[in-house]
């Protein structure tokens, strides 16, 4: 591969690129390959896919558009970027729906061949209108019209070959990837190697591998020779912490975290789930890991899934179920059963925009109150939330640890925006991850009391079926303290209700304190997947001369021990959330502090700049 022409190369610190096209155009794959290339170049990066719920919506329509955004940088970054510097649009529908994400003056590379009358009609452009000819659009963006379909065919078809034109056309995305790779000086050799490996070895279709290779090379050389662009760009490697990295998405991290937890607890793990967007990849990932003591089960429905997990927990395995908001609603009664039976249970909720079916492929943080309270009776569970794709690994291990310690269900909140997003991940050395202590009841001279609590943890003993002498019955009816017999006694119910809540609060002793970064008398407090955006916005604010402190909650029930002290230190507390203010409501009611919210309800992450602006307005607004 030729060296970048240094005389025309502009060095940037930060670049974001968006690929969009029809959902059949392979945009996720293209973005993913490009991300691998920026990773290999040593950049920090963050990605966000943006795909439709429809698998194959009619070609060319706006609701069939699939997008993939990646930001890469020579600095540490936490978000996929707000507006992108460059976009590839494979068809008019992608162009129409994604143009708003391109910065003014940004580069838009389009597959000109697809900008035809029939496609304009499909995506609702007026007859006779070609947006590429629109003066306003051309004034605002640098539109690069590339006849990708034709060029791909010309590069790939030779007269002797019997390759189908369909296979050739499928390589257009690789042609586009070639152009972008040249534009940002990312090498294509490793991509070619992966294509050869995938198509050549895994799929045993070396001829398809060869086509893809030709296409990406053709696109690269086209970028180099066509002089369409004002410059070639380069982004220097980021100064990341030294070590070995891989790319990881939130859902992948959950798979690895649960597997690690099972190994560290020396237990089998049963993951029972019903397919649901955006959580299904956790099931897919774990299903391949039977050799790690993982048993997966695709249940007949959400309720069966959680019940299978509870049955497995009663039997002594780690019972886990995964879902998204609507599924959590269905599991509510069963989670209540696990609270009453006082068994470990991990419920992974990869949240999506609701209510009801809502927007399955869009992200939100709107299940928090459902998670806290969405069950009958006084029914507390442990609630934790991950803050980045890589953090899902750590929090999955925490979910298992806390659940087994307190003998109580954990609801582990992730978000669609974390599940599918990817970032570089410093690969942990598993020998540095502590074992998870598991205690099981053993036979003693004393009578076995299934609800006799451990003084330190408040947990009841976990006796495993098959152990002689510990036969006992549990169920959803209220239990007599100690014996676990069915009890309708008034005082006992009050006591047991308190016990079930207290053992969760006792976990404060074994979870980390809330850490604060930065100074000033304003605290930006967040939870979940907004962490990267908040940190970046805080940096932006400091650059504007506004000093703010930030803190991020990973533990919501119980809260960290020091949270009250932290909240009382600040004159102003601002909480950005992707809901109408759910955690803010909890904190205000529990700590009687005023917290001002910034709400995002549009199904995609905050933009850094819009968040920084909102915070600035509140800080400068004075009064509140």
């Amino acid at each position: 591969m030729p060296e970048p022409k240094t005389d025309k190369t502009t060095r940037l610190s930060n670049v974001s690129v968006r690929f969009c096209g029809d959902s059949g155009d392979g945009m996720q794959l293209t973005g993913s390959h490009f991300t691998d290339a920026v990773a290999l170049a040593g950049n920090d990066f963050a990605t966000a896919p943006d795909f439709p719920a429809e698998i194959r919506a009619p070609r060319g329509t706006t609701f069939g558009v699939s997008g993939y955004q990646v930001q890469f940088s020579s600095n540490e970054i936490h978000t996929p970027g707000d507006l992108v510097n460059a976009m590839v649009a494979m068809n008019p529908a992608g162009f129409k729906t994604n143009l708003e994400y391109v910065e003014p003056g940004g580069i838009v590379i389009v597959n000109d061949d697809e900008f035809n009358k029939s496609n304009f009609k499909k995506c609702g452009y007026e007859e006779g209108y070609n947006p590429l000819d629109d003066e306003v659009i051309n004034a605002q963006y640098k539109i690069c019209r590339v006849p990708m379909s034709r060029l791909t065919r010309e590069s790939l078809v030779d007269e002797e070959s019997d390759i189908s034109i369909k296979d050739v056309d499928r390589c257009r995305n690789m042609f586009a990837l070639g152009i972008i790779s040249w534009l940002y000086s990312r090498e294509i050799d490793s991509t070619i190697e992966r294509l050869q490996n995938y198509f050549g070895k895994v799929k045993n279709k070396p001829e398809i591998a060869a086509l893809n290779e030709k296409a990406i090379r053709a696109g690269y050389y086209f970028g180099e020779t066509a002089e369409l662009f004002p410059s070639q760009y380069d982004v220097a490697p980021a100064k990341l912490k030294a070590g070995k990295y891989r790319r990881i998405s939130g859902n992948e991290a959950i798979v690895l975290g649960l597997t690690t937890a099972a190994t560290k607890a020396n237990k089998s793990l049963v993951y029972a789930s019903y397919p649901i967007t955006p959580a299904s990849d956790v099931l897919h990932g774990l299903a391949r890991l039977k050799q790690f003591g993982i048993r997966t089960f695709q249940a007949e429905d959400e309720i069966a899934a959680v019940m299978v997990a509870i049955g497995a927990s009663f039997t002594g395995d780690i019972g886990v179920t995964g879902t998204s908001g609507p599924g959590l609603a269905l599991k509510g009664e069963a989670i209540g059963l696990a609270v009453m039976m006082e068994l470990p249970l991990i419920v992974v909720n990869v949240q999506r925009a609701g209510p009801s079916t809502g927007m399955p492929t869009k992200t939100e943080q709107s299940d928090l109150l459902q998670t806290m309270f969405g069950r009958s009776g006084e029914c507390p569970v442990i609630v934790i939330a991950a803050s980045s794709p890589g953090n899902c690994f750590q929090m999955a291990i925490e979910a298992v640890r806390l659940s087994m310690r307190a003998m109580c269900p954990v609801i582990f909140l992730s978000e669609g925006g974390l599940g599918n997003a990817a970032e570089p991940w410093l690969i942990p050395d598993i020998s540095n991850i502590p074992d998870i202590e598991v205690k099981h009841a053993v036979v003693t001279d004393e009578e076995f009391l299934p609800y006799l609590r451990d003084e330190k943890t408040g947990a009841r003993p976990w006796a495993i079926p098959g152990t002689p002498g510990l036969e006992h019955r549990v169920g959803g009816l209220e239990k007599q303290d100690g014996t676990g017999d069915v009890s309708y006694d008034h005082e006992n119910h009050a006591l047991m209700t308190r016990y079930r809540a207290e053992k969760i609060q006792k976990l404060q002793d074994v979870i980390p304190d809330l850490e604060v970064e930065g100074s000033g008398d304003t605290l930006i407090l967040g939870w979940g997947g907004t962490k990267g955006t908040i940190l970046t916005a805080a940096t932006m604010l400091r650059e504007r001369g506004i000093e703010v402190a930030t803190a991020h909650l990973h533990y919501i029930n119980p809260f960290p021990k020091n949270i009250g002290d932290v909240l009382n230190q600040y004159k102003k507390i601002i909480m950005p959330e992707m809901n109408t203010g759910q955690l803010r409501m909890l904190l205000r009611s529990q700590f009687l502090v005023d917290i001002q919210g910034i709400q995002n309800l549009c199904g995609r992450s905050f933009f850094v700049e819009e968040l920084a602006d909102c915070i600035e307005a509140i800080v400068k607004g004075g009064a509140k």
Partner: protein, 338 residues
């Protein structure tokens, strides 16, 4: 491993210290008696038994068996039991619940446990009524049933537990009556030894809300005329005098009197392995026909879900060798930062 001799159990070893709270005269008592006897004799250690139930009168069952037990939530016990068997296939799991629990709110889970052939034993106590909620009609109640919730009579066609079990791919499908403790014991024992889901419907009397509903089939004087005992490879004969039988007639069957016109040789011979015939027999209703008791259908060839799952796990382990967690976490696509 050395074989440890199994303790000798008596039925009372399976009794708990809990007061049994069913209504006096409830059919469930007889089932409990049969179950304790069965458990003592099955050859399974007490700690390896697990009784699971959903919600309803019958679902109190686990509290009265001194084994491991779980009284779960309405309709979902087949899923709980599935989780138990996935975690530990060696446990002997019994699922005791009622017609409302397993066929109404839990119909879906019952169907899926059966089609998966999870190695559990389902005992469905069918009293054709909702007892615990005090007398509403159930999914097995006859059309026109007058209850508190259906003062003008119920409109819903009842579902037939046996037909449902057969249609769901059940591999051991049987029926008996509560007062026949001996027959019940034998059937449950056979079901327990079957690999895969055993499904036994028990005609059970709710003497408070639906008293005598099964009396046509369960009483000494009515039973011989109104039921027929299914025995593998035996002709279908019934009646106090053994003077009647079931004969094939085209696509259906008819009741014939033995004697001059017909002999046993003309009768349908029961074949437990014949699914189509089992289905036909499941459609025999009182008063036109005697209702069959015993094993309708058995398929011993199908492996259980849990056995297959665990052999799949073994195969994967064999193929992949020892699990290497660090290698898994590292993945195949890495880069280094100096």
């Amino acid at each position: 491993m050395t074989d440890v001799a199994l303790p000798t159990y008596k039925a009372k070893d399976f009794a708990t210290d809990q007061d049994v709270r069913w209504c006096p005269g409830c059919g469930d008592y007889a089932v409990l008696t049969a179950m304790k006897k069965m458990a003592a004799d099955l050859g399974v250690k007490r700690e390896d038994f697990m009784f699971v139930s959903g919600i309803g009168c019958a679902a109190r069952f686990p509290y009265y068996m001194n084994t491991y037990g779980a009284h779960t939530i309405h309709g979902r016990s087949p899923a709980f039991a599935t989780g138990v068997k996935i975690a530990n296939p060696d446990l002997e799991v019994f699922l005791i619940s009622g017609d409302g629990d397993l066929l109404s709110i839990g119909g879906n889970h019952t169907m899926h446990a059966l089609r998966r052939n999870i190695d559990i034993n389902i005992v469905l106590l069918n009293n054709k009524i909702y007892g615990l909620t005090k007398g509403q009609y159930s999914p097995t109640s006859e059309v026109g049933k007058v209850t508190k919730s259906t003062p003008h009579g119920s409109l819903d066609e009842p579902i037939n537990p046996i037909t449902i079990a057969l249609a769901s791919g059940g591999t051991f499908v049987a029926r008996t009556i509560d007062v026949d403790v001996k027959g019940l014991n034998a059937l449950i024992t056979r079901g327990a030894r079957h690999t895969g889901t055993s499904f036994i419907e028990v005609y059970q009397d709710c003497n408070v809300f639906n008293h005598q509903t099964w009396f046509y089939a369960t009483q000494k004087d009515t039973r011989p005329e109104n039921t027929i005992v299914l025995e593998h490879e035996k002709p279908l004969v019934f009646g106090a005098e053994k003077d009647k039988g079931i004969r094939r007639n085209g696509d259906s069957v008819e009741v014939v009197t033995l004697g001059e016109e017909f002999t046993e040789a003309d009768l349908l011979v029961h074949d437990e392995t014949n699914l189509a015939q089992a289905f036909l027999l499941s459609q025999l209703y009182h008063p036109e026909f005697p209702e069959p008791m015993g094993v309708f259908y058995v398929d011993d060839s199908r492996p259980s879900y849990n056995d297959q799952l665990h052999s799949q796990v073994d195969e994967v382990v064999k193929k992949h060798g020892e699990a290497d967690l660090q290698k898994l976490i590292t993945g195949s696509n890495t880069w280094s930062v100096a």
